[in-house]
Symmetry: C2
Subunit: 157 residues, 2 copies
C-alpha cells in the first residue's frame, strides 16, 4: 500500500496519459512518490530518446518534469487536506504553464531522477518546482503551474 | 530544393534527435520551413499521445515547440547572415530555456501546426516565440531560448 505511486490512484478513464498514465503501454508510465517533503520519480530513457549523441532530448525532460509536477500537485492537495489519495473527493491536476531551464546536457544511458517541491498551494492552483538529476548532478530545473481539474471529470466510467 | 526543411540540412551525426532528427526512426521527425517571416511545422500526434481522452499530452506539445524552436533558430541565424543553410560555417542550436503556456486542451486526432517567430537574435542566442494551433485555434504558446552550439560539434564524422 505505501509503495503505491501517486499515478496508481488515477481512475482508469484518466490513466492513459503518455507521460504518466498507468494504462498507456506506449508511454513513459512514470511513478512519483514522496521521499520526505520532496516527491521523486525515476526514469531511464531509451536509447532512441537521444538529442545529440550521448544525451537526452529536451522534450523528454520537459515531459518528465511536467507529469511529475501534476502528479505531485495531486498528492500535495490530498496531503494539504489531510486525506489519503484514495479518499473522496478526488483531486487531479493539469498543467497551465511549464518552464524548463536546461542547465547542462543530460547523459543518456543512466537513470534520471526528477525531484519535486511544492512551492505554493492556493485554491485550485499548485506550483511545483522540479529538478532533474543524472548521476546526482542537476541537469535541468523547472516549474510547473498546475490547476485542479473540474469535478465533472470523475463522473464518467 | 526549396522544399527542404530546416532539419534536412543537419549533418548525419547530428540528425538523431527524437524530436527532429531526420534519422531517428522512432522519433517525431518534425519538419520546419519558412512561410513568410514565420516558421511552420505540422505534426499529427498518434492516438497514444493522449493525456485525458480526446486530448494531446503536454510533453509532446513541449517537445514540438522545443524542436521547432531550435530549428527556427538555426534557420534564422543563416538568414541573418544572408547565407543558405548548406553553406559554411554551420549553425545549430540547443535549448537553454523552454516555456510553454497551455491555453486550452489540444485535441487529439487532428494535424497540429506549430508557428515560430524570431523575437531576438543576439550573439550566439536566438529567442523564438511559438504558438501551437489545432483547427486554427491557438492551444498553447511558448518561448524557446536557443544557444548556438560550439563549432567543434561539426568536426567529427
Amino acid at each position: 500500500m505505501t509503495d503505491k505511486a501517486f499515478q496508481d490512484y488515477s481512475p482508469d478513464h484518466l490513466a492513459h496519459c503518455y507521460g504518466c498514465g498507468k494504462l498507456n503501454e506506449e508511454g513513459h508510465r512514470i511513478k512519483s512518490r514522496w521521499e520526505g517533503d520532496e516527491s521523486v520519480a525515476r526514469f531511464t530513457p531509451k536509447p532512441y530518446h537521444i538529442s545529440i549523441p550521448g544525451y537526452v532530448y529536451g522534450g523528454l525532460i520537459a515531459s518528465l518534469i511536467d507529469c511529475h509536477g501534476t502528479g505531485t500537485a495531486a498528492a500535495a492537495a490530498y496531503k494539504a487536506e489531510g486525506r489519503a489519495m484514495d479518499s473522496d473527493p478526488p483531486r487531479r491536476f493539469v498543467t497551465a504553464s511549464l518552464k524548463v531551464d536546461y542547465l547542462k546536457p543530460t547523459p543518456l544511458g543512466v537513470e534520471l531522477e526528477v525531484r519535486g517541491k511544492v512551492k505554493e498551494i492556493k485554491g485550485r492552483k499548485v506550483v511545483v518546482a522540479a529538478t532533474l538529476l543524472a548521476r546526482g548532478e542537476v541537469c535541468a530545473a523547472g516549474e510547473v503551474v498546475c490547476v485542479q481539474v473540474p469535478d465533472e471529470w470523475f463522473r464518467k466510467a
